[in-house]
């Protein structure tokens, strides 16, 4: 047996740093700073695809420099009226005689929250000394001193990095697990994308987070809190090709009704749909792939030809014809975001499913001789995409890869490049027959494809795999078999429920224990 239950299978957990998304959320919660200041930081590493891959983390001179200027802005804003009074009421009555006391009050209130742990001996004094040193410079006020304290904290490793030393496990002192505060931080960034709230901090103190059940209880509470929706949205913005639809331009003559406004609406459609289905609907990955409804506003409803929707607000509507559309894959955003040009491309749509929904790795050929032949066929080579894109499947070298992508792409040909349903292309009836390679049987059209993918276990485990990579902040690989297996088992048991999957992420030995401590 690969992962016997009676043993602890911890995986390595390299040092993680706040991403720009997390930094922005955290300073919003700590200082009410809603300026998204971390957007000025240099790009994260692509790594696992979510920009939070701890294994690819590095520090450039530019990053250190920008941490300074970003912190400078936050410190200044936080110590300017009216924000300043939010730090502590003492700021409004402070006098020369009470400055040190007021600074100490602020430091002792703020620093444990910024550092996500209690202060150790001398830390408060060191920060007070910094406030006083600043106060002594020419032109400084009390607020300038506090600003320096905030700037220093925001550049400290205690804030920027998720530092974990762990504590001995009570049941088995030979084992180590994250301390209460460290677990609060793990949970908080996983579900809220920000620093622990008061409830989590309290739970960290009671020892509740030192047990598997305690962690599950907090995870369950957090997932039921609407604040978790922002993280789920971030996850899908990075997984699906929908983030840039807002900027998308298409040929106005060929597609007169499409515009970046419609693109933005498609993005919102998919996100609101996912939010509803995952948090308020059946909430399984198969149900996401086959839901008979979507979310539209008036403009998007008109675009799709759905009658009776007025107003700019998005609302849930039943799909008028579930032989034409069903579930996530058939939404305009996913169909538009997977096409490069003004011509639909079954290869690209198919490879999106293969790579992102099935986690099969098919990369571009590297042999220059083959690559030279990789080109989008001219419009003139056939009336339908199937005609245009059938040449390569007749050549064995091309077909060795294309056989895995094209049959799914062809089944989606009922959508034009901007996601509108069609039965004809250039006056010829579209043949949307296809298959899910590796599974038995043929299928016809997008709805059958969606249903088939929803029944395919590989698709479910691929989805779990993306969540594991995102949640653990790296690309899982060797040594992570047990974490992966235990999450997959729970996911499967729940009928592939997404919320259960997210909870299962917190119940693995990898999440609950440290490696090398057995």
């Amino acid at each position: 047996m690969l992962c016997p239950d009676q043993m602890i299978h911890a995986s390595r957990s390299p040092l993680r740093r706040l991403t720009r998304f997390e930094y922005n959320n955290t300073v919003r919660d700590l200082f009410g700073d809603t300026t998204l200041p971390a957007n000025a930081l240099p790009a994260e590493e692509l790594g696992n695809g979510f920009g939070n891959d701890a294994d690819t983390l590095s520090v450039s001179g530019l990053l250190a420099e920008q941490y300074f200027s970003v912190a400078e802005g936050i410190g200044t804003r936080a110590t300017t009226a009216p924000a300043f009074a939010q730090l502590d009421p003492c700021t409004s009555t402070v006098t020369t005689a009470t400055e040190d006391a007021c600074a100490t009050t602020i430091i002792q209130k703020l620093a444990p929250v910024v550092y996500r742990r209690p202060l150790v001996a001398g830390e408060s004094d060191a920060l007070l000394a910094l406030a006083k040193a600043t106060r002594a410079t020419a032109g400084a006020t009390f607020a300038t001193g506090i600003s320096s304290v905030i700037q220093a904290m925001l550049q400290s490793p205690d804030f920027l990095y998720r530092i974990e030393f762990g504590v001995p496990d009570q049941a088995n002192p030979a084992l180590k697990r994250p301390s209460g505060d460290e677990m609060a931080t793990r949970l908080s960034y996983l579900f809220f994308g920000t620093a622990p709230d008061a409830t989590l901090r309290a739970a960290a103190k009671t020892g509740e987070l030192l047990t598997k059940q305690g962690v599950l209880a907090q995870a369950t509470r957090m997932l039921a809190d609407a604040r978790s929706h922002a993280v789920v949205r971030f996850f899908f913005d990075n997984l699906l090709p929908i983030n840039g639809l807002t900027d998308l331009t298409r040929d106005k003559v060929l597609f007169p009704t499409f515009s970046p406004t419609i693109g933005a609406a498609m993005h919102e459609e998919t996100q609101q749909f996912l939010e509803y289905e995952i948090f308020s609907g059946t909430g399984t990955w198969p149900s996401v792939l086959t839901a008979p409804y979507t979310f539209v506003n008036d403009a998007l409803a008109t675009y799709y030809g759905i009658p009776g929707v007025t107003g700019a607000m998005f609302r849930k509507v039943a799909l008028p014809d579930t032989t034409q559309r069903l579930g996530l894959l058939t939404q305009g955003g996913v169909m538009t975001g997977t096409v490069t040009t003004n011509q639909s491309n079954p290869v690209l749509r198919g490879s999106f499913i293969v790579n992102k929904l099935m986690c099969r790795q098919i990369s571009l050929p590297t042999d220059p001789a083959i690559l030279d032949q990789v080109k989008i066929p001219d419009d003139t080579t056939g009336k339908t995409a199937r005609e245009r894109f059938s040449k390569h499947s007749q050549q064995p070298i091309c077909n060795s890869c294309h056989q895995f992508m094209d049959p799914m792409g062809f089944a989606l040909e009922n959508y034009n490049p901007v996601g509108q349903f069609r039965t004809q292309e250039n006056g010829v009836t579209i043949d949307a027959s296809g298959s899910v390679p590796g599974t038995p049987g043929a299928l016809n059209g997008p709805v059958e494809l969606a249903r088939k993918l929803a029944e395919t276990a590989e698709v479910q485990f691929c989805f779990a795999s993306h969540w594991l990579n995102f949640a653990y902040g790296r690309k899982l690989g060797q040594g992570d078999e047990c974490a992966r297996a235990s999450v997959e088992v729970e996911f499967q048991k729940s009928g592939y429920n997404v919320r259960q999957l997210l909870l299962a992420l917190t119940q693995t030995d990898a999440f609950l224990y440290f490696p090398g401590s057995m």
């Binding site: 600043t134 096409v339 080109k375």
Partner: protein
């Protein structure tokens, strides 16, 4: 600006047999370089363009001493006429081993193969030069890396082996993210050029903040395991670099003045974050602003050098994905599409490459306008121009389209040098030699047979 150059032979000829004292004249300064005792180059700039070139429209005709420029390089004729440009053909990027685009951008300055699916296995040339020049003089920035319309397509606005050519000169060769935002760059570099009242107090405050932060990293480092400690130590090193640069710089030279701000509100420097793998997302407003932003960023980089804020720069046009459009050239698809995604389109690629030559002319002329005291900024510099491959549809990396400009280290311009399938690491080590570093190999030594002959 025409300059009269004197050399000793001219003087001696004119003097005939009459014995005169030969005072050393300032005007002999630059010419002296051509006779072996050249002053080392003091500035390095690397300019990257994606997707190679169209060889048939690039290779000059004529002779090595008197090249006739072909359509793609024609815009650079004024620099060739000034004898400040060298076209270097016949070099193969043999060290570019790995993914076909990634290995190219990784090797072009580092001369090393891609490490697995990650980055380089050595530092990049610009960083090695920057270390050398920083040892001679501390400047506020060891180097500056700028990029226009960066991290397109699959790299999705994030740092990846698809878009990085600069690697730190340390044990781990970390990839260096470029600066992207023109507004932020202007503020960072020129925002405090004029000393503000109370500047000393600001510096003192900054120092005490960094002092506190420094101690936190140092304290933490000793408590961590090897892998995590390395990351924290890296961060500490960067904080120390900032600490050293504060207040330690000399007043800027006379030519230094803050460039006029350009309105770039139509340009989203982080539009890469919204990109899709295959380039389906087109941000036409941002794409349309590329020429304006490109020229502005080149102006800022040139002024940062004129101000002696830095001696080393890199300028990157997009990245190896190059999935942005060229509305000002009436090219509605992205560059990668014309390279091979949509089937090789030589006419469109030629148009793009020719435009890059026009932009390069803009940069070199801007550098040649800056008077650094009897010679121009370009004269004391070495400017490398290159790409990650030669031929777009095949990704071939033989006979790379490289150019050098400037006169630093005695580089003799106005020529076309043709080598016979030598590794491009030879060029990298030769450039290093122009800066006074005498090593005989650079990058992976397997792909270096020694410095090129004929550059000086």
């Amino acid at each position: 600006m025409a300059k009269i150059r004197l050399n000793r032979r001219t003087l001696l000829r004119g003097a005939g047999s009459i014995a005169i004292a030969l005072p050393w004249l300032e005007a002999m300064g630059t010419e002296k370089r051509a006779y072996g005792a050249a002053a080392a180059a003091t500035r390095f700039l690397a300019v990257y363009t994606p997707g190679g070139t169209v060889r048939a429209k690039y290779t000059p005709t004529g002779t090595e001493a008197a090249p006739v420029l072909s359509p793609i390089l024609k815009p650079l004729q004024p620099i060739m006429d000034l004898k400040k440009l060298v076209i270097i053909d016949g070099l193969d990027m043999k060290s570019a081993i790995g993914e076909q685009h990634q290995a190219g951008i990784i090797a072009w300055l580092s001369g090393t193969p891609q490490k697995g699916t990650a980055y380089s296995s050595g530092p990049s040339l610009d960083q090695v030069i920057a270390t050398r020049l920083a040892a001679q003089k501390q400047r506020s920035k060891k180097s500056l890396e700028f990029a226009v319309r960066w991290a397109t397509g699959k790299s999705k606005g994030l740092l990846s082996p698809m878009n990085v050519g600069n690697y730190e000169d340390n044990a781990t060769f970390n990839p260096i993210p470029p600066r992207l935002d023109p507004v932020q760059i202007w503020t960072d570099l020129f925002g405090s050029l004029t000393p503000t009242p109370g500047g000393d107090a600001l510096i003192a405050r900054k120092k005490s903040i960094l002092d506190y932060v420094d101690k936190r990293y140092a304290a933490l480092s000793s408590r961590l395991g090897a892998t995590d400690k390395q990351k924290i130590d890296q961060h500490l090193t960067k904080i120390r670099e900032i600490e050293q640069a504060i207040g330690g710089t000399t007043p800027p030279p006379m030519v230094c003045k803050a460039p006029t701000k350009v309105d770039t509100a139509d340009y989203n420097p982080r539009t890469g974050l919204n990109s899709s793998d295959n380039g389906s997302v087109k941000d036409l407003a941002t794409d349309n602003a590329i020429p304006k932003v490109g020229m502005y960023l080149m102006d800022l980089l040139v002024m940062a050098m004129a101000c002696d804020m830095t001696a080393v720069g890199s300028f990157q046009w997009s990245d190896t994905e190059a999935k942005h459009t060229f509305p000002w050239l009436s090219l509605p698809e992205h560059h990668h599409f014309y390279q091979h995604d949509g089937g090789f389109k030589p006419a469109e690629c030629e148009k793009i490459c020719t435009w890059y030559s026009q932009m390069h002319l803009y940069l070199l002329q801007a550098m040649d306008k800056v008077d650094m005291g009897g010679h121009t900024l370009l004269d004391e510099s070495v400017v490398l121009f290159g790409s990650e491959l030669q031929d777009p549809p095949t990704h071939t990396k033989t006979n790379m389209p490289f150019m050098l400009a400037g006169g630093g280290g005695g580089l003799v311009g106005g020529r076309w040098l043709k080598y016979n399938a030598l590794p491009h690491n030879n060029l990298l080590v030769s450039i290093l030699n122009l800066f006074g570093d005498t090593r005989q190999t650079f990058g992976d030594p397997k792909y270096c047979t020694g410095p090129l002959t004929g550059l000086v």
